[in-house]
């Protein structure tokens, strides 16, 4: 077994990657307020989703991004409307960050007819093509190769679009990761791979099953790419890294692989109390809550308390309204069972 267990997260992040850092030389104020708003919306949405599990209104499973909001928010703010997002089962945050309204997302978790996919996909497969949210994929690895395809299409069409693919640290050890990274590099595809390293693959510490200390960054050279490891709990760092990678992709310089160090505040999925994590580790990371840190930063640079409170209140109101709409949604019509397998709208396999 190799690698330490990331005693100090900062030890894993380097700034010699042109992505600038924290408070210094940050994005402009409008962007920063947008980043805060996005993080707060995600935070409040995920907390509400959790409450609804406890009320047993969410059937099936669900995976929250509590603690990892800065990554989705940073990229969401940097991406253009027609760029493509590919996410995992842990995809609520990335879906909201692309501007998908909260109500259909929450309704999908509840399996209602007004859900984003009318209840057919569920929490792990959130998709909204009109927002560039090209899908959430629940089997580890595959979507890195699919993101390549969207990038290839953009390259072929000369559209200037970029595909951004989010995944976790554990995903770096599956074959599809390797195939996707090599293929993207060989074809110089406009794609950005974002590894959200939250130190765990489900219940197992990533360090215990990975041959290198930084699961993504220490693999970059194997694809002729620069190693990039950043503080995933700093929305400004994420925003700058996103801008740089998107720029590079649009310029035809090919893919970027970014490792963003972060931590989930809760368990892997609804079922998981996350008892396997050392208390000290959890506490250390809670002191690095991306939303709290970012709020403090905005106050430091002179944003008024009231403005932040207003953002938070608006987010809460939006979540309340989403919950109301989701809960009032009917169950999907039984006929939906047999629709949309084929482009003809049906599912018949015979005449």
């Amino acid at each position: 077994m190799t690698a330490d267990t990331h005693a100090d997260p900062h030890a894993d992040t380097d700034s010699d990657n042109g992505a600038g850092t924290a408070a210094s030389s940050g994005p402009d104020l409008r962007t920063r307020l947008a980043l805060y708003r996005s993080q707060v919306e995600i935070r409040q949405f995920e907390k509400r989703a959790y409450d609804l599990f406890l009320q047993n209104l969410v059937k099936g499973t669900s995976h929250l991004s509590l603690g990892q909001e800065a990554i989705a928010a940073g990229f969401g703010a940097a991406m253009l409307p027609d760029d493509y997002t590919f996410a995992t089962y842990r995809g609520h945050a990335h879906t909201l960050a692309r501007g998908v309204p909260m109500a259909p997302v929450l309704a999908e978790l509840l399996g209602r007819a007004n859900g984003l996919m009318a209840g057919k996909g569920g929490s792990m497969h959130l998709t909204s093509v009109e927002h560039g949210m090209m899908g959430s994929y629940a089997i580890v690895g595959a979507h890195l190769t699919i993101a390549n395809g969207a990038a290839w299409s953009a390259q072929y069409r000369g559209s200037g679009q970029v595909a951004v693919c989010f995944f976790g640290d554990g995903t770096t050890n599956i074959g599809a990761f390797h195939e996707a990274l090599n293929y993207a590099a060989v074809c110089k595809l406009p794609v950005v791979f974002v590894c959200e390293n939250n130190l765990y693959m489900e219940y197992t510490p990533i360090a215990s099953v990975t041959a290198v200390r930084r699961p993504a960054a220490d693999r970059a050279a194997a694809y002729g790419l620069e190693p990039i490891a950043l503080d995933g709990n700093d929305a400004d760092v994420m925003y700058h890294a996103a801008c740089a990678a998107l720029e590079r992709a649009r310029a035809g310089a090919g893919p970027t692989l970014i490792e963003a160090l972060t931590y989930r505040h809760g368990g892997h999925s609804r079922a998981d109390p996350a008892k396997y994590r050392p208390v000290a580790e959890v506490e250390r990371w809670l002191t690095r809550d991306p939303v709290v840190l970012y709020r403090r930063r905005l106050l430091d640079i002179g944003v008024a308390e009231g403005e932040l409170a207003a953002i938070e209140a608006a987010a809460r109101a939006a979540v309340d309204e989403a919950e109301r709409q989701a809960k009032s949604g009917p169950a999907p019509d039984p006929e939906l069972l047999l629709t949309e397998l084929w482009a003809d709208g049906g599912s018949s396999w015979r005449n």
Binding site: G111, S123, H125, G141, T204, Y276, A331, S347, W349
Partner: protein, 333 residues
């Protein structure tokens, strides 16, 4: 005699075999320290230690390759592929390597290993975490295929699988994990290739697998209340297939209904109906009927998933309407 859940039967079965044979080792994702995402393997790491119970990276091909290489060199590995849907990411190791190597090497290489997976729907996990893929395995020559319906069979058939000299795919139906039943104390070792008649009736024969067995039994109870006596056969192992038991039970009633959780096309039910049509043709009083999930991916919403899988209701209705059809002899007149 203890009440044991299907879930707890898994760890009991693994422990039973690991105590008996030092060559038995166990690997998979989150199976050791965490005791498995389905909490089906707690305590094994503590009892048998990290050399025999290993947590792996998310590398299903590496997991099954390790099991295969270890099996051909003297160990008897048990590998967990968490959800059977994930067999698709390591299908080459299963279908092209493990299934074919003994035959290709004219018997030089033995592969005594077990691959166990959580299989099937009912948990509202959506299309990528709910499939019943036992037929993927049945269609590949060289794999034995087991799918127990009770906690007792989990223990007995798992022991038989571990002791079998050939590769076995062992499908644990996720929806059954919480279900408890009586399991005798002490070592239990069952036999592969043996179906079980769970209930006997003279009007029709329901042949079911895994989670569909309790549903078929529930349907049979209700049919009995309506004057229709159904036999229920639990297939238990698809390969080897106990055609002797199944054919005789079908011949006895002249009416076959398969109850399958899998999507409709090319399932074990189609294979069984074909065997029956070829070998019990004259005994059949009416067309064999397959009761399956429609040929669709499984939807996530509870309202939709519940509609998709065969329910006791659907079984009852299907049997009733079939029995009200004219039988062959009537058709002839």
């Amino acid at each position: 005699m203890a009440q044991l859940s299907y879930r707890d039967a898994v760890s009991r079965a693994i422990a039973q075999e690991m105590r008996r044979d030092q060559r038995v080792v166990f690997l998979g994702e989150d199976v050791a320290a965490a005791g498995g995402v389905f909490k089906a393997t707690p305590g094994l790491l503590a009892e048998f230690g990290p050399a025999r119970v290993r947590d792996t990276p998310i590398s299903e091909q590496a997991i099954l390759g390790a099991a295969m290489g270890a099996a051909m060199t003297g160990l008897r590995p048990i590998a967990e592929i968490m959800f059977s849907d994930f067999l698709a990411v390591c299908w080459d190791i299963v279908a092209n390597q493990i299934a074919k190597t003994r035959y290709m090497t004219h018997g030089q290489v033995a592969l005594p290993l077990v691959i166990r997976c959580g299989n099937g729907g009912g948990l509202k996990f959506g299309a990528q975490h709910s499939q019943s893929v036992e037929n993927w395995a049945m269609a590949v020559p060289g794999l034995k295929v087991v799918a127990p319906s009770t906690a007792r069979d989990v223990v007995g058939l798992f022991a038989a699988a571990v002791r079998d000299p050939d590769p076995v795919l062992f499908f644990e139906q996720k929806s059954l994990y919480p279900v408890k039943d009586e399991v005798p104390d002490g070592e239990i070792v069952d036999e592969l290739g043996t179906a079980k008649v769970r209930r006997t009736g003279d009007d029709c024969t329901l042949v079911a697998l895994a989670a569909m067995v309790p549903r078929a039994l529930a349907a049979a109870e209700r049919l009995a209340g309506q004057g229709i006596q159904a036999t229920v056969v639990d297939v238990r192992t698809l390969v080897p297939l106990d055609t002797a038991t199944i054919l005789s039970e079908v011949a006895r009633t002249g009416r076959l209904f398969t109850v399958e959780e899998n999507p409709r096309l090319c399932g074990w039910g189609a294979e069984l109906v074909s065997i029956v049509a070829e070998e019990c043709f004259t005994e059949l009083l009416a067309p064999p009927v397959r009761i399956t999930t429609p040929h669709i991916p499984l939807p996530a919403a509870d309202a939709l998933e519940d509609l998709a899988l065969p329910s006791a209701d659907r079984i009852v209705q299907t049997v009733r309407s079939a029995l009200h059809q004219p039988t062959r002899s009537m058709a002839k007149s």
